[in-house]
Symmetry: C2
Subunit: 680 residues, 2 copies
């Protein structure tokens, strides 16, 4: 509690400092920043030194930052050393880190950059890791060389828990892909990887006590225990806790393939979604014996103090259908299935307690019979979070941070754990809101596409959870996100580059320019529309190799085009520079279908995109015609406008699970032309 | 000899089969190919089976091919198994491979694809590896799905030695970069990695007997022995021999940093090129004792039967300057330094013989006193190769295959080991020409750029060395190279994608479109012009982060534009489609400088490219004006033409170590317009 009060005070001070939002390329923005004058050159003489506390992990962390600096600048720092007399970067640390990273462990740092040197200081190496990322982001290409602007930064996180959930059950994600995502998380100062390790579609951890879990509960794709230990260490080195989740008693079909006796219904279970389904039977003592042994094994494998047991979306029909379970409910004076799940969670909580773990679960675990030590993760919203906080429970927000819903970054950015219902909490209750987690559910992503669904959008959630609440200017956010995005690719992330390979594969061709022109102005349908468009269960084995998979969740081209059209309209249709740029885009789109059509027929993967390509071409022509009317200062004819309305309406509707994102601005031009606005 | 005669006969038959050059996307082209009708679908039911001989390495090789197929198609082959009843791909092998891959070991295979199944058979797993690459290249994106065309292929290499030299001394190349290049080599059926491991600028192998070699003779960047063993195995798994080269007695300054007693001159040596230089002293017995121990150690580390001792460019001035060496020459009745090097090589040859290795060296080692068992690698040309062959020596051609000279693919493609002087050899002498090696000298490449200098151009040298001599149609080559190039990136190579990161770094911006437009029409200066432009020794520590590093060795855009202009001119200036495409390009270039100029000032890395950008813009304008004259069917005025001549002349000259590659076609348009050709 004491820590949280300190944070609140600091946040208040910080607010004053950051309200100007100086134009530095940082994401997340620090809590306090003062720009100086001049800059520190970064050239091949770059060196560093460490004073105060040091250990091998700290040195390795600094060496990784030097390697990242090398990658950023293309320079090999031959003379970089640990004991330079006049170091470019002086690092001072007070004391060491916790062996197992704690929630709320000090992550603050101070960074002072002058024209001569940079000084980074922190209480512990965790703060240094955060500060090094700030230093790296500050490196700019300038007219005279690479340089860091003179600046004084005092920084600490707003929330102690800033996570990313990655679901590796629906689609297995190999460790190299996860590791580059850890590197990305570290770059934006996130500190929890929530590893969703089991679900209906796959059990992804080797269990030595119950080997049929991973052997029969997966398609052969799982992590061995030695891989997990190495991975957890990799995360720890980057200041990231690994929170394991084993989702029970629902979402647990993969457990039943090898151990059907855990299920509430008899059956021969398969990971194939076409097979029978069930949830765990909480009335059998054998279930708890199993879970005690299993959790005991996992508790040793995952050092974090917290352990996520899922607990969401338990389908009560399997309990309803089992008379033995129903009589258990009556015999124990329970009212309903919710009470049975609460009983299950109480038993589970004791097992976790025995193995020295704190329980984390989704909204549904909230029940007055559970102790206040548990943490509730809310996919339902701030209302649910606030309710928990009022009752004395700690909470995390994930509502609004589901990356798989394919929302624009600005929509995630606008969601604050302390807003809406949470804003009405008192200080003590607010202190129970530990932070939040972005969620990457993997029904529709595989190793090739997951980066593009996480990045760069995840960075704005990271900023929401690290930076002061007042940092919320959307234009600044997009400007900084653009600068960050390509730097994230330097870490090995493929969120931008993977599209190229997907388009080559689709077209089977070397020249993918026309396919890219279309890909650049579409976005996948939002929310659950893609899965909802299929009858029956989603086939998790289906390849993810369509244009919808290659398209970015948020079209930069469309956003920039919308801004351009707004500028043009707000300028009374007189901004010739804007008009010329609009014409350039419209011409490219109008002419693209003629280039793309010959590629569509020969590719079974692109054929479905023919109507989209035609719509884009028609939109281009329409927009150009609207501009012609505007140029002539005469209102466009009513009949023409009616025709265009039909086209615009058609172009609005999703095709091949994709949305054309430039319909609205073209509509604005058509409407402007109808009013003959130029002449007014 | 018997093997070689068989090869010759087969080649003759093959010639008949391939003279039609059917349009399949294979590189290298097989020696015999017959297209059938229909195609074999590749879908998620893909499976394979192996009959006949099998071992773990073969199975691993097939699994790698399945993984590559998965990457190519985006499909995970859940049902792929080793014992399918009706496999998509049936693999039959007669017997196992040699434990250490031999020169001339059978690499032939037969591949028969029908609409129902594919059968791949070979005498040994080496042939299967080659055939699997053919199968993978045949996979197409079609209107109905992924498929392999029905085809019957009988294939074997023209030459038994098809290599790529990679110099890791001038710039250290990490193992992950080398491994992806091995994958690329395997994809184009190359079978030797010639690893240039030591040179003046760095000694890159851990020596346990002489640790000062790698410790003092490098900047800390070297391969450990366990890394090398793992790497050699990785290569062997892919059917690639690893030929180590330790270049002596010249090119050996890095040896002298730790062991100055080996040098012909006293001195305190550094790897820094500014320090003193020397060559080995061949007159001391201690030199041979050292080499005996060293080669003994390396002979165990590198299993290949061959061992490359360099032997090139020995600067005699260091021997001339040492009276002790001069008196040794006189005392032993030698005429000159060449005789002394021959003496050195004879001694070396005995040491290699003792350690069961065959000597390979550059042209300069050729001397009648050396036994005929040695192999001469010629950087001087077919004349040198033919001379060696006539004297009974085996030879390899590298002249014409130096990738660092930044030649267009067509120029490498035109060079044949059996042409010019070699064409006059008799059959027995021709049999001594074992093949050739592409050479990637690394003065101007680092880990980020080496892929783009090797690929895709290396593939045409691979084809020259594998395919029948008659396969030489340049248009077909470029068409197939384009298809291959992006597939090579699927293996992890970055020859196309690395440019993006370099342009981001240079501009410091998210939007690199204008920088890419310029990058796409320039090529680095050729031959040694870049190093020659610097006074004094080349600084190997200088970052490789300029536009010249980001530019491709061969501009696809410029080549396509040249072809387009030729089409237009040959059509009597009447081809409107070609003219429209030409105008599109010219307009983009004309307008690009206005977009790029604002980026140049803020970037110290781009400033030098301002004149290039201006030239490109001017060329665009000139080309458009020429087209306007042509459209009007009136000759362009003489004064205008004079002005353009000045521009064209200026644009021809290299700037920032780059050449604008679209000057000549614009010049053609200007000249056409002067003649008023349209009207004729």
């Amino acid at each position: 509690m004491r820590n949280l009060l300190v944070v609140t005070v600091i946040l208040h001070l910080a607010t004053l400092a950051v309200s100007q939002q100086p134009s530095v390329n940082l994401m997340p923005m620090p809590s306090s920043i003062q720009l100086g004058s001049g800059q520190l050159p970064i050239d091949q003489t770059f060196s560093f030194a460490i004073t105060g506390f040091r250990d091998a992990a700290l040195e390795a962390g600094v060496q990784r930052a030097v390697a990242a600096l090398s990658r950023r600048t293309g320079m090999h720092f031959y003379d970089s050393s640990n004991h330079a007399a006049n170091p470019t970067l002086l690092i001072h640390v007070e004391h060491g880190r916790e062996k197992v990273q704690k929630v709320g462990e000090d992550e603050s740092y101070e960074l002072a950059v002058s024209e001569a040197t940079a000084k980074l200081s922190a209480a512990n190496p965790l703060g240094i890791l955060r500060g090094l990322q700030t230093f790296l982001q500050l490196v700019e290409t300038t007219g005279k060389g690479f340089a860091v602007p003179a600046v004084t930064i005092k920084d600490q996180p707003r929330f102690p828990w800033r996570g990313l959930l990655i679901d590796v059950s629906r689609h297995f994600i190999p460790l190299d892909v996860l590791k580059r995502n850890l590197d990305g998380m570290a770059a934006v100062k996130m500190n929890v990887l929530h590893w969703h390790l089991s679900d209906d579609q796959g059990f992804r951890v080797e269990s030595k006590r119950f080997p049929k879990l991973h052997e029969m509960g997966s398609d052969g794709l799982y992590y061995t225990q030695s891989e997990i230990r190495e991975f957890v260490e990799y995360a720890h080195d980057r200041g990231i806790r690994v929170l394991p989740e084993f989702d029970i008693p629902g979402h647990s079909r993969s457990w039943f393939v090898g151990y059907p006796e855990l299920a509430s219904s008899p059956g021969r279970y398969k990971i194939d979604p076409a097979g029978p389904d069930s949830v765990m039977d909480p009335t059998q003592e054998s279930t708890y014996k199993f879970l005690d042994k299993f959790i005991g094994e996992m508790a040793k494998l995952f050092p974090d103090a917290y352990f996520h047991i899922g607990g969401d979306e338990v389908d009560g029909k399997f309990w309803d259908a089992n008379p033995k379970i129903q009589s258990f409910i009556h015999a124990h004076g329970m009212k309903n299935n919710q009470d049975l799940q609460a009983y299950f969670n109480q038993r589970l909580q004791k097992i976790l307690n025995k193995h020295h773990k704190v329980m984390v679960g989704w909204d549904e675990i909230l029940h007055p019979e559970l102790p206040k030590t548990i943490v509730v993760q809310s996919w339902r919203g701030q209302e649910s979070l606030a309710t928990a906080a009022r009752q004395g429970y700690s909470g995390l927000l994930s509502f609004g941070y589901y990356l798989d819903l394919i929302w624009p970054a600005a929509r995630h950015y606008a969601i604050d754990p302390m807003s809406d219902a949470a804003a009405t909490l008192n200080a003590e209750e607010k202190g129970r809101i530990l932070g939040g987690e972005a969620c990457m559910w993997s029904e529709l992503v595989g190793p090739e596409t997951i980066d593009s669904r996480i990045w760069p959008r995840n960075a704005v959630i990271a900023e929401r959870l690290w930076s002061p609440q007042e940092i919320k200017d959307v234009n600044s956010m997009y400007a900084r996100l653009g600068k960050l995005s390509w730097r994230l690719e330097l870490l090995g992330l493929t969120h931008k580059s993977a599209q190229t390979l997907l388009l080559h594969r689709m077209t089977g061709r070397d020249d993918i320019a026309a396919a890219r022109t279309l890909a650049d102005v579409v976005e996948p349908v939002k929310d659950y529309a893609r899965m909802d468009s299929v009858k029956g269960p989603w086939d998790f084995r289906a390849p993810l190799d369509r244009l919808v998979d290659a398209a970015s969740p948020e079209s930069d081209v469309a956003r920039q085009f919308r801004d351009l059209v707004q500028t043009y309209i707000q300028g009374g249709y007189k901004d010739h520079v804007a008009e010329a740029q609009i014409r350039t885009w419209l011409t490219i789109w109008r002419d693209n279908d003629a280039k793309l059509q010959p590629l569509l027929g020969p590719s079974f993967l692109l054929q479905e995109d023919a109507p989209l390509s035609e719509d884009l071409s028609a939109l281009g022509a329409t927009g150009l015609q609207a501009l012609d009317y505007l140029d002539k200062s005469e209102p466009s004819p009513e009949a023409w406008k009616m025709q265009q309305a039909a086209l615009l309406s058609r172009a609005q509707s999703p095709k091949a699970d994709l949305l054309l994102m430039v319909v609205a601005p073209v509509q604005d031009l058509v409407e402007g032309s109808a009013a003959g606005s130029r002449g007014r």
